[in-house]
Symmetry: C2
């Protein structure tokens, strides 16, 4: 039997999905599992998007242009311009989810051995796409103490080597929910310019900002117009993760032409998803007002609830729909599995993502978990109650005062 590739052997299993078999076993035992582990919103997809699919008038479901339907790209360009991002439809390649946009970007910008700096904790699949492209991820650590703010620019400067070719940001952040300020982004901009790097900015949670905070796109940074790659997706914005529609956007013509060659190789993005995505551009403002106010309520319910549990620390994020909580536990992987295998409270348990998978090496995530607030508030209240109860009986609970020590 021929051996699989080294790349394949090193590919990490999804930290979000690896506990699924334990959740399935819990459900078979009759325990209700509260899913805070995955960013799958329960929010309804806009009616206008679903109607477009139901009313479509296609006799042959053809390939589209490799860069996506022109009408959709034009609509999307208008959307970006309304959001202060000045681009044309010719600077957009429609992709199969934000995932494919990231893969195209990695392939088009980096060769084996090149390095990309990413503030950690970061979205676990960044590791996977980097590995696919042979790119080395160089983490720069952010801290729960500052709510996962951008690490000092000096830390980035320190991480730069002759092989550094890019920096990757998620803004607002998955898994942290952190929203970068203008001054943070401008400091990064200067560094990017000074070192002639690519700046990948994953902004798929753009709409979800709270407390009046403003989202600042990397595309609006002056002086690095040719360096920025915007990664986008309709998955979270319109709660249609399954449509698999994203976008790769850059003003850099050479990079765009190169990414298009990768796009041509896979022929075209999904036709049905593009129809839904184009129609979704007509989603009424009221939809977002409702969704954002709902997420804000959920955030407050979950984060305030978590902070009311003795020994738990959770910064209140200003964006996206995730938070990272620090727990008084020995090992988040063990704890998350224990919750599914050994625990229940009023017939329920909680599924969370151990934060170990969101760091380049697991250690800093041992006392941390990522929670997605994608359930209604009564369920979030119940989840907090479960966690309070679980932490009071969990055999691997750390004694008071040791949690911080373990992290340091």
């Amino acid at each position: 039997m021929p051996s699989i590739s080294q790349k394949g052997q090193h590919m990490p299993a999804s930290p979000i999905r690896k506990l699924v078999p334990f959740a399935e076993a819990a459900k078979k035992r009759g325990t209700h599992v509260l899913h805070l582990n995955i960013g799958q919103p329960d929010i309804r997809t806009p009616q206008v998007a679903l109607e477009a699919i139901k009313n479509m008038d296609l006799a042959v479901v053809e390939y589209s242009h490799s860069a996506g339907n022109e009408s959709y790209r034009k609509g999307l360009a208008a959307y970006y311009n309304e959001h202060g991002i000045a681009i044309t439809h010719e600077q957009i390649i429609i992709t199969t989810g934000g995932s494919e946009a990231l893969l195209f970007g990695m392939m088009a910008c980096f060769d084996a051995g090149d390095e990309i700096i990413i503030p950690e904790p970061f979205y676990a699949n960044y590791n996977s796409f980097a590995l696919s492209a042979g790119v080395k991820v160089v983490p720069v650590r952010s801290s729960i103490d500052s709510g996962f703010a951008l690490p000092p620019i000096e830390a980035f400067r320190h991480a730069i080597t002759p092989r550094t070719k890019g920096i990757l940001l998620c803004n607002p952040g998955n898994p942290t929910g952190y929203l970068y300020s203008r001054s943070e982004l401008e400091a990064l901009r200067d560094l990017v310019k000074e070192n002639d790097l690519f700046l990948f900015s994953d902004e798929v949670y753009r709409e979800f900002c709270y407390d009046g905070a403003e989202h600042i796109s990397a595309m609006s940074l002056v002086g690095i117009e040719e360096n920025v790659v915007l990664i986008d997706s309709v998955s979270k914005r319109y709660s249609m993760c399954g449509a698999r529609i994203g976008a790769f956007i850059t003003r850099n013509k050479e990079l765009l032409a190169t990414a298009l060659k990768f796009a041509q190789a896979r022929l075209s993005p999904p036709t049905f998803g593009q129809i839904a995505g184009e129609a979704a551009l007509k989603t009424p403002k009221s939809y977002f007002e409702e969704v954002i106010s709902e997420y804000k309520l959920r955030r407050d319910t979950l984060v305030d609830g978590l902070n009311s549990i003795p020994g738990v620390v959770c910064a209140k994020p200003k964006g996206a729909f995730y938070c990272i909580a620090q727990l008084p536990i020995d090992d988040s992987d063990v704890f998350c599995q224990w919750l599914l295998e050994k625990f229940e409270h009023k017939g329920h348990t909680v599924m969370m993502a151990p934060a170990t998978g969101f760091y380049s090496a697991p250690e800093p995530g041992r006392q941390q978990v990522r929670l997605a607030y994608v359930l209604e508030t009564p369920k979030l209240e119940l989840a907090v109650e479960c966690l309070r109860e679980a932490l009071s009986v969990y055999p691997g609970r750390l004694a008071k005062g040791t949690a911080q020590a373990a992290v340091a």
Copy 2:
């Protein structure tokens, strides 16, 4: 401005799509372009697939399982078993088109510098996926004289080096239409076994076999069960290329688990396409009978027509809906562009794919073009008429007797 990757620079532009700007210019001048350049069927998508999309009852368009919906995989397993391919739904990963199945296979099996042997001419994008994975393509030449039959096994044996890890077939073939016989496949099977290689078999044209010829799947070869990777897609079978639904199939557990990690990184295949794909499994037999008889008629119209033009040679393929024709011309890239820029006949011209892009290096394709018979017979008759006329006036026409010499 940071430089793009070496990989990106070496990525070939699509030989099928690179002439698109010239076709667009021709259309703007008012010339009708007969598209024989791309495998986009004009056949109607089965009603049952379109109805499923129109009648779907989703409130939230969620991610599916990373391997695809279980109900779809079970239905697909039943389809394969009906076609003599004994597999279970647990051996299937639903992918975003056959393209993604190929990419997963390349990533999971091969590392940078590994070699894969492919009989040429081959589907141009095999080059692209190999390049993405850092794999070296080693071609073994097949010849128009034998209708692009499998090259002698000795030629494969000669191409094997210590870095050879796989062989990739397309059966029936794009761009040749060649259908491999059992004895050809069994000879390959012995070689694969002897050298412990992976055998990738792209069988997306399985249904389209003519003249009573039987399709033999690589999955039915005894003794290399763990070596075979089946690449499949609904694109051509149900004329729904835009659905972007394919499948990665193997009985090799370790390989499947590895491919699943790549599948998890991109989260899930498209939800809408899976709904259409699952429903399409109920397509009545009569649909295929009609489509196959239509394709057979088209093949005969096109191939017989081509062979009636002085100096043109085209073998009659037994499968898929492509053929490669040898033309008495100086350069197929120049000729195909000339057809779009300088030629018209009764207000029409023909767009074809220069065969240069279907070889690992362009030379053997200089006098060859690939034609897809995806138009109705009257249009194919008109295309033949156009080509007859074009070849009689084309300035780069080779003198009688020189075409073969140029190829040899």
